[in-house]
Subunit: 350 residues, 5 copies
Amino acid sequence: MGLLYKNLKKVGKPPGAIIYTGEDKSRPIKMEVIYYNENQISKEVVSSLDSINWESSYNKWINIYGLNDTELIKEIGSKNNISSLILEDIAHIGQRPKIEFYDNYIFIVLKMLSFDNKRMKIQHEQISFILLPDTLITFQEVEGDVFDPVRKRIFQSKGLIKKKGVDYLLYCLIDSIVDQNFILLDQIEEKIEIIEEDIINNQSKKLLENIYKLRKELLILKSSVWPVKDIIYNLLKEDSVINDDTKEYLKDVNDHLIQIMDFIIIYREMISSLFDTHLSHTSNKMNQIMTMLTIFSAIFIPLTFLAGVYGMNFQYIPELSYRWSYPIFWFICIVTVVSMYTFFKYKKWL
Amino acid sequence: MGLLYKNLKKVGKPPGAIIYTGEDKSRPIKMEVIYYNENQISKEVVSSLDSINWESSYNKWINIYGLNDTELIKEIGSKNNISSLILEDIAHIGQRPKIEFYDNYIFIVLKMLSFDNKRMKIQHEQISFILLPDTLITFQEVEGDVFDPVRKRIFQSKGLIKKKGVDYLLYCLIDSIVDQNFILLDQIEEKIEIIEEDIINNQSKKLLENIYKLRKELLILKSSVWPVKDIIYNLLKEDSVINDDTKEYLKDVNDHLIQIMDFIIIYREMISSLFDTHLSHTSNKMNQIMTMLTIFSAIFIPLTFLAGVYGMNFQYIPELSYRWSYPIFWFICIVTVVSMYTFFKYKKWL
Amino acid sequence: MGLLYKNLKKVGKPPGAIIYTGEDKSRPIKMEVIYYNENQISKEVVSSLDSINWESSYNKWINIYGLNDTELIKEIGSKNNISSLILEDIAHIGQRPKIEFYDNYIFIVLKMLSFDNKRMKIQHEQISFILLPDTLITFQEVEGDVFDPVRKRIFQSKGLIKKKGVDYLLYCLIDSIVDQNFILLDQIEEKIEIIEEDIINNQSKKLLENIYKLRKELLILKSSVWPVKDIIYNLLKEDSVINDDTKEYLKDVNDHLIQIMDFIIIYREMISSLFDTHLSHTSNKMNQIMTMLTIFSAIFIPLTFLAGVYGMNFQYIPELSYRWSYPIFWFICIVTVVSMYTFFKYKKWL
Amino acid sequence: MGLLYKNLKKVGKPPGAIIYTGEDKSRPIKMEVIYYNENQISKEVVSSLDSINWESSYNKWINIYGLNDTELIKEIGSKNNISSLILEDIAHIGQRPKIEFYDNYIFIVLKMLSFDNKRMKIQHEQISFILLPDTLITFQEVEGDVFDPVRKRIFQSKGLIKKKGVDYLLYCLIDSIVDQNFILLDQIEEKIEIIEEDIINNQSKKLLENIYKLRKELLILKSSVWPVKDIIYNLLKEDSVINDDTKEYLKDVNDHLIQIMDFIIIYREMISSLFDTHLSHTSNKMNQIMTMLTIFSAIFIPLTFLAGVYGMNFQYIPELSYRWSYPIFWFICIVTVVSMYTFFKYKKWL
Amino acid sequence: MGLLYKNLKKVGKPPGAIIYTGEDKSRPIKMEVIYYNENQISKEVVSSLDSINWESSYNKWINIYGLNDTELIKEIGSKNNISSLILEDIAHIGQRPKIEFYDNYIFIVLKMLSFDNKRMKIQHEQISFILLPDTLITFQEVEGDVFDPVRKRIFQSKGLIKKKGVDYLLYCLIDSIVDQNFILLDQIEEKIEIIEEDIINNQSKKLLENIYKLRKELLILKSSVWPVKDIIYNLLKEDSVINDDTKEYLKDVNDHLIQIMDFIIIYREMISSLFDTHLSHTSNKMNQIMTMLTIFSAIFIPLTFLAGVYGMNFQYIPELSYRWSYPIFWFICIVTVVSMYTFFKYKKWL
Ligand SMILES: [Mg+2]
Ligand SMILES: [Mg+2]
Ligand SMILES: [Mg+2]
Ligand SMILES: [Mg+2]
Ligand SMILES: [Mg+2]
Ligand SMILES: [Mg+2]
Ligand SMILES: [Mg+2]
Ligand SMILES: [Mg+2]
Ligand SMILES: [Mg+2]
Ligand SMILES: [Mg+2]
Ligand SMILES: [Mg+2]
Ligand SMILES: [Mg+2]
Ligand SMILES: [Mg+2]
Ligand SMILES: [Mg+2]
Ligand SMILES: [Mg+2]
Ligand SMILES: [Mg+2]
Ligand SMILES: [Mg+2]
Ligand SMILES: [Mg+2]
Ligand SMILES: [Mg+2]
Ligand SMILES: [Mg+2]
Ligand SMILES: [Mg+2]
Ligand SMILES: [Mg+2]
Ligand SMILES: [Mg+2]
Ligand SMILES: [Mg+2]
Ligand SMILES: [Mg+2]
Ligand SMILES: [Mg+2]
Ligand SMILES: [Mg+2]
Ligand SMILES: [Mg+2]
Ligand SMILES: [Mg+2]
Ligand SMILES: [Mg+2]
Ligand SMILES: [Mg+2]
């Protein structure tokens, strides 16, 4: 399946048409709501939006697994007065990472990445955030995410999260997603190290294919990571919803993001440089092979000719009957070999 | 025909000279007018400008197929007070995409692209927009465009278009053109995948030619897509004609455009990286071939020499009459083969 | 002659030293003056500055062919109060394109380019403009320029030029020079197409030399075209001499210039990509050649060895007297050829 | 160990979690305090924070070796009111170089670099600075740094340092760290020179590996040096803590930094150009080898065939019994050799 | 000696430590003073600073050859109230080009370049300027500079210099230094032309080495020339010391500088493109060689085999006694040669 198949499904559709562009359209939806304030905390798994206490004075984190139920997305939209363009972006998993500011909410799209080691492919799961006053809604495609450490911190009494607003929760989740890239990059680095060793050990099976795949994945990774810089920059500029306190933490995320971008650049150049090294290795090896062939040929071709000469059946070849011809022939052979050897030594071919 | 032939026709002409720079100068013109407001809608195909109700209070979309009737373009210009420089650009199909703001209208040039799969060539059709109050005029070279879904939405009662002004109609058409690029890129991606497989399967016929053609088409594609970013940026800055509402939708187009630009960059780098892979593949294969040649030569050339030696007709070769010479000869041959094989194994050539 | 010889002549000279840095220092000067207003027009070829009616209320276009008469340039300078640094730039034909604004005039240097098809070299002729109120003075090195269509339009009654000021005339001339690049680029494109075909047809004579020459010429072309963008940008910002009307036309030139820059970039990348294709073509062909050599060797070298074995003169070779030895030998040869052929087919070398 | 292992330890941790991400977690901490003013100076090695006279009116430089005692870092933080995010960065040695301004202090992270000549690897030691009023605290991982010349200058009566505030001390330390890069770059240049000579002398053992390693180290070096530009820029803009006087000195550091960045760029391009040279060298050598093989083959293969012909055992070969056949055979051989030699000379292969 | 040896001497030194970082520390200092105003002019060679009439109302140009007498530099500094950081930069010949503005003076560092044709190396001599009111002090390392045309113009009555202030003198000297680059670039262009011819004539001795050297020198040249753009930009912005008049002249220098930068870029790309051409040339030549080898082998290897077959000593080979065997053998040989020749012609290998 191409990189674009998600986007193709949207061509010709009117704006605001909420269409799930993913694969499995029958997957059941799951909704998880966490209510918390400084002192109390509770978690509920609900099956309908009506079971959610929207008016609760607690901070609320509503996490929705599954985007195929577009009716549900619409309902959430109308309950919270969300633009249909935003709802469309939530269901369209080919959306690029971005941030949008509306009067009553902030909308963020990010990619949760993981590395499929066998297929040497980065897996993308789209995650959308709607930050409302006191409420953070997150949408993801399938169950399972990188937020477990955050959940644990909420339920631990000592964590900061409970004391702070949902903007701090948003920071925590973004931080988890960004930090996930370190794990991804570490796996890519491992692959690069395998390639490094393969080049040194001359094991070129799949080498080129792996270099090409890594190049391709880093290209796609780049297009998922670069826009995040812009998202954080815009959050840091925001003035009403994001507290100054939270901004200090967002700067920390920014710090990590810059490092991740640095590493992507470094890995891209390392792979390009590894490719060059492989190419040069190949031509060095060819040189070695051809040198061996040439030395063998240069030594034996003239001698074989000489042997051929005295294998001729001319009646009048005086050397044939000469007593010392055969020893002299071997002497010539040895002299030839030695002088050729000396010549190649001098030429530094040996 | 070169890339520049359209521009060459304009050299030496005075500014404002309305010259059709396309091919078929005898093609009949077709004009299609759609009148619509929130409640009503009608469509007419007219043959002269006088048949158009310019003063109607309805929103009007006047779509003109064919640019060869420069008199008609002039007439439209004078009816709506359009600068002759703009009229010139409409008829000159080598115009690059751009936007221009005048007191009473906005002028936009875009390229409607499609991929000719067989010739591996992108087809360009120029489309110009004049956005007047309540009226949008579009000019294209031949009948057939990517606007059918938009037309359908106008005639459907539920669509948003009827409720909104012509600025929203303009957005819908630009969106259609931009989205068309996803289809184009998908076809390019298919070509890239074919090249990927050809490299793996060693089917190098036309491979280099196809890589070169794709590179060239992506270069030209780039020069058609990049200026659109500027056009949308300028529409978003515009303050009087484009409603804030429509701008939200234009941001959505911008989103798609950025993705398209990302993909063009990714595909360019993938092709460049595929080229590198092919080059390296070729030299790996050469290594394999030369290794085989060298091994064959290294084994048989010395043995052939030895056979040649005992084919010599010298009278005094003691080995010739020796009883075990022949078996010893074969023994030497076998030892040579085995030791060469071991040597090449050790050298990792086998 | 190097690229720098014109600049070398200026080293060590004081500023404002008016030195003609071109070749032919004895060429006679020719001056052509066109007086025009909305209603009347006249053209004179004059031999001295005194024959020019400087005080005429008509618009004046004074066109001077030949820069070797530095005394004349000085005289024009003192008559019109032109800085000696400007006069120096007019006579120094290695000046790069630029614009300079003075209180009473605007000074522009441009390059009029043409393509010498045989030598595959771009010819540069420097042209300088001094825009005074009601007077435009142009300086060029030799007779013959790209302004004939403009001259024709002045003398035609219907042209716009006569109705407008000398700023519009300046626009017309700049437009002619910029449009000339389309013709130049078209010739370069033709050369590129020849190279494309040469690569496909394996006709590599002069191929590398031509690629190198085109690369070099495009580099130099780039340095002549890029500064023009800056010149037009500055003219568009100018507030007193260039009418708003003329600026609309200058934007049209800008449009063309951007297209020209786009094409230069495209052609540069196409040539670079053609070079890559040629390189890869060469190594593919080498692969083919080496495969043939290896196949021949792999088949015949062992067989020749076998023939050599039975050409040996050992007294005790039992096979020699065996009745079916010869047919068996041929049978072994055929088996070897067939199995080698199968092996190479399997390896996809054939 | 990968480049990322330090960062991986931080994934999933809450913000402000002070975790030492280095290797040796049991290393004892050492604290060195220097109190100085214009007239007096004293140095103490203390074992607990209580032994430090925090309220002293002297300038204080507190230098801490070892980051594994995170309790100590926390204590310093609470004594001086430092944000826990900062304390986290101090202990996390994978932090990228940066500056952060707080109301009561400035925080800077830098990398102290040295070159491990044998492993051809740059060693990074992270150093953090907290600039408080009258107090500068520095944190480093292990004992031993590049500050000895600064310490010497403090204890010498003539030095400027004693007369100035801790902002000047900060400058001195940053200057030492930046200048250290010159030593690093000099060692890299030496390696480049060794590679240059190896290419000329055809000693390609480890050549490719060394080129690859240098490329990689320069990439990593780049990501350590580039952010320093930003740090100094921000210090120069700071308005309350850094004296104008000190800024003059910081501009001097900036000067050196720009030179270092220039050299990194130059070395990167030199290595890339050396790689190209090596590649071309290899293919030139191959040409030489193949030319030799071809010449040998072209001369002897036809002659060996001729010898083979007259080694055939056909009964009716008239030449066999001809008296002068053998001398004529040798004559043909000599003519062939001479004409081949002339041909290759003419082709410039010899 | 590496590129960095000058900078290494400064590591660990306190700021403002005036250390001569050049080679010859015993060279005698020479001071040359020119006093001039509109009407009068005199030149003195002095041996001590006291012999200079600092209070003279004339314009003064004090030119100092030799930087090893750091005491002298210190004395000049204290006489004119120059910062010790500036004095340090004057003596440190590894300083990069820069400008610094102080209340009472402007400080500029430039590089005077020349090309050592034999060693293919650019020679750098550092020159520093201190522009005081009515006085310009220049420091250079050794006697001999590019200022002789300026000196001549001062002493000629007609020159502008005498009538203008020392800011104009500063311009003249900067102009001389910048113009010197044209001569340098011309010599580099000559080297490039030699390489072009060497590639065409297949004379590859030292070719790669020369390409590498030129690349390296252009890299270093770039880092000497690029900062000058910034220096002139800052002089043009300066408001009190540099007269508007002089700024017109500085714009002329800027003009030349841009051209020089253009040429450096062009030469860099030309060399890179020449390298590519050489690489491709080499592989074309290899193709030619291998084609020859393959043709020879393909023709003679089968024939030699056939000759070998009939050289076998089997008792029962019917052909041996057949009357026409030998002529038929030759016939087969000729047919083989002709058909191979036709085949290779068809394959376009011949
Ligand atoms: Mg759509
Ligand atoms: Mg999930
Ligand atoms: Mg983080
Ligand atoms: Mg991107
Ligand atoms: Mg941090
Ligand atoms: Mg590469
Ligand atoms: Mg690289
Ligand atoms: Mg025109
Ligand atoms: Mg159409
Ligand atoms: Mg769209
Ligand atoms: Mg959207
Ligand atoms: Mg690439
Ligand atoms: Mg000059
Ligand atoms: Mg001319
Ligand atoms: Mg034009
Ligand atoms: Mg340029
Ligand atoms: Mg136009
Ligand atoms: Mg390329
Ligand atoms: Mg964290
Ligand atoms: Mg340390
Ligand atoms: Mg320093
Ligand atoms: Mg970086
Ligand atoms: Mg300094
Ligand atoms: Mg660069
Ligand atoms: Mg390179
Ligand atoms: Mg220092
Ligand atoms: Mg000197
Ligand atoms: Mg100059
Ligand atoms: Mg630089
Ligand atoms: Mg000038
Ligand atoms: Mg190149």
